[in-house]
């Protein structure tokens, strides 16, 4: 049987046969991949249009880069409450060159936020819009006040080039700041000097018994709790301590913070410091030290010799009020005793001079006291301590020459006494008073100015030490006061050495500088020598500084 021939053959193959091997219409049919792609394109187009429509109806979630801060949540979906269409909200220089708009935006902010300018020395053209520093849309809980350091260092990095002289002032020479560390931040200028004029020794007041030597001794008679007025004793006496123990004050005895105030503090007492407390966290700053609240338990203000005599009697008994630290007070008492006027002055009721009087009021008060000493208290007179004002009741003065001389002598003696009392703590300044307002001058018809009077100027004690920065004591309550106020504590010296040097520290700044801050407010790092880790607390500009409200040039308030 012949087998088939499978070798390639030249057997005829028709053109039709060849043509049938090719599907000539294949390109007219859409391939499945292409068909699917077109369907998907259509679906994607429709989906994108749908998403776009959704975006335009849900702007807060779709268009905004994030939720606005909680305070602005009311306007979450009202973009134009803050935005001006087609104008940049952030002043950034280059956008402003294209479209001006930031001023309009800031005007919208300032409807609610009327804030003081930063500084009179800043260049007006460099003052940005609100949003150039404050970024919103960073979430409900974002702190848009915490701006980046660069918003500050843009100018403060080379502050001389970004500040102008105020009218009548030379061009300021200011230190530049680029970051908070030992090298790029100047020392705290507010801590350069202590303008305080009240003679005071923190070290003495923090020693047991308020003496420079333990238990009193040659220095002074030590204070015990039972010597304090009953009204004040409970305030100072710690639980579990005997009344016969030595008084041991601590910082909080005088430096009180708002949450620490006793419940009997009235709003009227708080009013002078309410401006300071406004906007600050509870306990952020120490309230001003007040004589009546913090000093009067020990420091009495005798206005005439009867009180002085009492004090002298107490002193003789070894329990005198602590008045000998200042030599002038001792001299005054000695002068009075030598003049033999004590008996004459003791006729009036014992009196405590109100604290905080000016020179004219002191004169009027002492003249009234001298006149009153010539009279027995009138029937039905209001006890002095209940009178609303120290000069509320003035008895009819005698006008004869002898009485006038006696009144003058009484006034002079009281003036010496009171001056000594004031000088114990204050720097007093000689003052010449006009005759007007003087009871004695009016009686004698004398119109000549009166010399020999004195006044006590402002204490100069700062309520806010860090004038350009913000410090929150409550945030640092876990630290000992000594960490930053080591100088306020009694020195570790023998009593003799302490007495040899002046214990007064009112001229010293007892607040540590930035070095004490840098232990925490610095990048987390390890000390190579000790291996101890430190730092980690925030140290950006706004941690301590605020931008708004420093535009004024008036000094910050100080205690009277």
């Amino acid at each position: 049987m012949a087998g088939p021939d499978f070798s390639p053959s030249t057997a005829p193959e028709t053109s039709r046969g060849h043509a049938s091997r090719i599907d000539r219409s294949y390109y007219t049919r859409t391939a499945p991949l292409l068909r699917g792609r077109r369907w998907l394109m259509f679906l994607a187009f429709v989906a994108a249009l749908g998403w776009s429509a959704w975006a335009l109806t849900d702007k807060s979630r779709q268009l905004a880069p994030g939720a606005v801060v909680a305070a602005h949540a009311t306007w979450e979906n009202d973009c134009q409450a803050c935005h001006v269409p087609l104008s940049p909200i952030r002043e950034g220089g280059w956008q402003e060159q294209v479209i001006a708009g930031s001023a309009t935006h800031s005007a919208k902010c300032e409807k609610c936020h009327a804030l003081a300018s930063h500084s009179l020395r800043q260049v007006p053209a460099e003052v940005g819009s609100c949003s150039s520093c404050h970024d919103d849309h960073r979430g409900r809980e974002a702190d848009i006040r915490r701006v980046a350091d660069t918003t500050c260092t843009t100018c403060h990095g080379d502050i001389s080039a970004h500040s102008i002289a105020a009218a009548g002032e030379p061009t300021p020479v200011l230190p530049s700041v680029t970051r908070f560390d030992a090298d790029h931040h100047p020392p705290f200028q507010s801590l350069a000097t202590d303008p305080g004029r009240v003679k005071f020794s923190h070290g003495r007041h923090l020693r047991a018994g308020l003496t420079l030597s333990a238990g009193g001794g040659a220095d002074k008679v030590a204070w015990t709790y039972d010597r304090l007025p009953a009204a004040d004793r409970a305030r100072y006496l710690p639980a579990g301590v005997s009344e016969t123990d030595l008084v041991q004050l601590d910082c909080a005895a005088c430096h009180q913070f708002a949450p620490d105030l006793p419940l009997d503090v009235s709003l009227r007492d708080l009013r002078p410091v309410s401006a300071l407390l406004a906007g600050r966290a509870p306990g952020a700053i120490a309230l001003p030290v007040e004589f009546e609240r913090h000093c009067s338990a020990c420091h009495q203000l005798p206005a005439d010799a009867s009180a002085t005599a009492t004090a002298a009697t107490l002193a003789a008994a070894g329990t005198a009020a602590d008045t000998s630290a200042d030599a002038s007070a001792t001299a005054t008492a000695a002068t009075l005793a030598a003049a033999g006027t004590a008996a004459a002055l003791s006729a009036g009721a014992p009196s405590q001079l109100p604290h905080g009087l000016d020179a004219g009021t002191i004169r009027r008060y002492l003249e009234t006291r001298a006149v009153a000493a010539l009279h027995a208290p009138p029937e039905g007179a209001i006890p002095e301590e209940r009178r609303p004002l120290p000069v509320a009741h003035v008895p009819e003065p005698p006008r004869d020459a002898a009485s006038l001389d006696e009144i003058r002598a009484g006034v002079d003696a009281r003036r010496l006494l009171v001056r000594g009392v004031c000088e114990k703590c204050h720097q007093v300044d000689p003052v010449t008073l006009a005759a007007e307002g003087s009871l004695v001058a009016a009686l004698a018809g004398d119109r000549a100015p009166q010399e020999g009077w004195f006044g006590v100027g402002p204490s100069g004690i700062k309520v806010l030490w860090l004038e350009k920065a913000r410090f929150d004591h409550s945030a640092h309550r876990s630290w000992s006061c000594r960490e930053c106020h080591a100088g306020a504590y009694p020195p570790a010296l023998p009593p003799a050495d302490i007495l040899a040097s002046s214990p007064l520290d009112h001229g010293q700044v007892l607040i540590a500088g930035k070095e004490s801050c840098l232990g925490c407010h610095a990048p987390r790092q390890r000390d190579a020598a000790s291996g101890r880790e430190f730092g980690g607390a925030r140290f950006d500009c706004v941690e301590c500084h605020g931008y708004h409200g420093h535009g004024h040039l008036s000094p910050l308030p100080v205690a009277p």
Partner: protein, 324 residues
């Protein structure tokens, strides 16, 4: 588009320019970041410029589609367009990221836009990657390659050729009673030859050739061959891998045809060899279809998402300027 090789000199300028522009933009961005102390966003000077350029690139990329619809216009060669499409698209990635504050952004629309952009870029890179090696691999592995859309047509053609050969040379199965197996052998045998498709290798290059086979007479003892053709081979040739045939596996195919060859007369070997070769070509078509899917399947992602990206970009631009 294949990168490198003979066209490397055309890609190199694009690569250099892309890297330079990217570095310059990153330098400006870094400088602004250091100056501001925070990542510049889309409204910053650098971020805005990056956004404008990236947006322009996206628009240009989208123009590739209409460009292909108007091939007759003299707007540069298709190769130049594709090269620009690829390299500018890659340049748009860092620019868009800097515009989007390195993805530290908010707003669902912004996120959708960014996600779409990244998906488009990633799918494009994937497409570019598969184009680097699949065509070469296909050239090696699929010498019988045909036009993708004609695979079924060509496979049916091969099936008809094989069936003509089987009907003309193999004994009809006695159990057959018409139907597909029976068919019209007389009609099939009208000619004395059959045109079949074969593979030839010449100087290392393989290709399909048409062969004419003389048909002389029925070969006795080939009923099994005929049965296997109708039961196994024909369904596979017509349906390919989707038919579920065991012939889709090369190993199984070799084993089945070897067994068939052992049980058939020697004269039937040529028929069996042809059937095996035809199945081999069909497997190559299957592989070609699969590679074609890899080679073009990414467009199912790339193109539709590009359309969506274009729409959202058209919304993003005016909205961003409106609430600048």
């Amino acid at each position: 588009m294949r990168i490198g090789g003979k066209t490397w000199h055309r890609d190199l300028p694009w690569i250099v320019a892309m890297v330079l522009l990217g570095v310059v933009a990153a330098g400006f961005y870094l400088a602004e970041y250091l100056a501001a102390g925070r990542l510049p966003g889309g409204s910053s000077r650098t971020g805005f410029m990056c956004g404008v350029i990236a947006g322009g690139i996206v628009v240009f990329e989208l123009l590739l589609w209409p460009r292909r619809r108007v091939r007759s216009w003299r707007l540069g060669s298709a190769q130049a367009w594709l090269r620009a499409h690829v390299w500018l698209g890659l340049l748009a990635l860092p620019l868009a990221l800097m515009h989007a504050r390195l993805l530290f952004i908010g707003g669902w629309l912004n996120w959708a836009l960014t996600a779409l952009f990244l998906a488009v870029i990633v799918s494009g890179i994937w497409g570019l990657a598969v184009q680097q090696w699949i065509p070469g691999w296909m050239l090696e592995q699929v010498p019988a390659e045909t036009i993708y859309e004609q695979i079924d047509h060509v496979a049916a053609q091969h099936c008809r050729e094989a069936e003509r050969l089987v009907r003309g040379m193999c004994v009809a199965d006695p159990a057959e009673h018409g139907g597909e197996h029976g068919g019209d052998d007389a009609a099939a045998d009208r000619g004395d030859h059959a045109v079949i498709t074969g593979l030839r290798s010449m100087t290392g290059i393989q290709g399909k050739v048409l062969q004419v086979v003389q048909i002389h007479a029925i070969i006795p003892g080939t009923a099994a061959v005929r049965r296997m053709f109708f039961d196994e081979v024909k369904p596979y040739l017509l349906g390919g891998r989707r038919s579920g045939s065991s012939l889709a596996s090369r190993a199984t195919s070799v084993r089945l045809f070897a067994a068939l060859r052992d049980s058939s007369p020697t004269e039937a070997a040529v028929v069996i060899d042809h059937l095996e070769r035809t199945c081999d070509i069909r497997r190559q078509f299957d592989l070609q279809a699969r590679l074609h899917g890899w080679l073009h399947g990414w467009l199912l992602v790339h193109v539709p998402l590009s359309v969506a990206l274009g729409v959202l970009l058209a919304v993003h631009v005016p909205v961003a300027l409106w609430y600048w």
